[in-house]
């Protein structure tokens, strides 16, 4: 049987949270709390969006985990949080905690892809209404938004370069919005485009960046802010290219 150490548990928890889009200060906090629950009062954790460092004591060897891919899965963040609470309350020992975390790690997405696509479509349509668009533009935004979100996931899987995927998806949104206006199926292109690009907007990154900055995690806050800025710029450039052509 495999043996788990406290370091394994802490690193796994931290890795899971960081990959699922938690704030870095929460990641560090959770790791230190888990270590403390197992009696390591001087544990040190340092997390940035791309790596975690962890040591169980000041002079103990430092362990390191590289975070390659990041996505948004707040369900996993909540579950790891739950496990950490259970550990702090003394309900789980090291092996049980490691098993619980591994189960979370192997879990699939909470919502199937088509539901997420549908959610993106509804959000796009609703945003068109919220920006004072007419109800006639609801359906165009609905379809263009779904298309934009779907293409974004597709390009992301295919190209592995996030900013370029966002750029391409945004330009397709612009292109199809033009097509819809050209075919006389919609009223205002502005409202359709705004609604349809909203699912691509880096809202979570912005909030995380602000919260990290305020918690004193300047490195993480600035890197996340830069990521959010690049994403926004990629979306803007994608739309801009289409405007430039037509």
């Amino acid at each position: 049987m495999e043996r788990y150490t406290v370091t394994d548990v802490c690193l796994l928890a931290g890795k899971l949270m960081l990959q699922s889009g938690a704030e870095t200060y929460r990641v560090e906090d959770t790791m230190v709390r888990i270590a403390q629950a197992f009696g390591m009062d001087r544990a040190q954790a340092h997390a940035t969006p791309t790596a975690i460092m962890f040591a169980t004591d000041l002079t103990e060897p430092t362990n390191f985990v590289r975070i390659v891919s990041r996505e948004t899965d707040l369900h996993k963040v909540t579950q790891v949080n739950g496990v950490s609470r259970a550990i702090s309350a003394g309900h789980l020992d090291v092996t049980e905690a490691a098993k619980a975390l591994e189960t979370i790690d192997n879990q699939k997405d909470t919502y199937p892809n088509y539901i997420q696509l549908l959610a993106a479509a509804f959000a796009s349509g609703c945003f068109t209404i919220m920006f004072d668009g007419s109800w006639l533009d609801f359906l165009p935004a609905f379809f263009v938004g779904a298309l934009g979100y779907g293409l974004m996931s597709y390009f992301h899987d295919m190209l592995k370069i996030r900013f370029f995927a966002e750029f391409l998806a945004a330009s397709f949104v612009g292109l199809f919005a033009y097509l819809i206006i050209f075919l006389n199926l919609g009223q205002q292109i502005d409202k359709i485009v705004i609604g349809a690009i909203m699912p691509l907007v880096p809202g979570l990154l912005i909030t995380n960046a602000v919260r990290d900055l305020m918690a004193g995690h300047l490195v993480s806050g600035i890197t996340k802010g830069a990521e959010a800025f690049l994403t926004a710029a990629a979306i803007g450039a994608g739309i801009a290219v289409i405007f430039f052509i037509f």
Partner: protein, 157 residues
């Protein structure tokens, strides 16, 4: 008109919650946080309050509700924060700014861009504001008085 906005913002926030893989049990609450924030913002703007101030107020209220929900449902606060903030993100203005930049109307684009920066700053400030209040409540001296009656009410004292 406002009812329509309320419904639209609820579904927009809930839709975003699904995109972010929020646990099913709190989807409805996520939508509610988003709807309350947007409703407050629209209400303030209708009553000729400046957009930046309205955004600040809405963001602060969103953050406070998120704190309460996070305590209540024992989930990380980020779940509610994100869904609540999404409707307030100045996507439309950013779009306008960019469109004018591309069309070489820099004089028109710059004010829009400045507005976007101001609004994003207001959202950030609103979030931080409630965080500070929360910290004060958590670390405040009056907690010792509070604890005496906590949970068990007056019986324990």
């Amino acid at each position: 008109m406002l009812a329509e906005q309320l419904v639209a913002s609820f579904f927009a926030a809930a839709g975003f919650a699904i995109i972010f893989n929020v646990p099913r049990q709190v989807l409805f609450q996520c939508g509610t946080v988003g709807a309350v924030g947007w409703f407050l913002y629209r209400l303030l703007v209708l009553n000729t309050v400046d957009e930046v101030v309205a955004t600040l107020a809405a963001a602060a209220v969103v953050a406070v509700i998120s704190q309460i929900f996070a305590k209540w449902f024992r989930t990380p606060i980020i779940i509610f924060n994100v869904s609540g903030i999404i409707p307030l993100v100045p996507g439309g203005l950013a779009y306008d700014a960019m469109r004018h930049f591309v069309e070489n109307n820099y004089e028109v684009a710059i004010p829009y861009a400045a507005r976007v920066v101001m609004l994003s700053g207001a959202i950030a400030l609103g979030l931080v504001f409630s965080e500070i209040i929360n910290q004060m409540i958590r670390n405040g001296k009056w907690k010792s008085y509070h604890n005496k009656y906590d949970r068990k009410g007056l019986e324990r004292s």
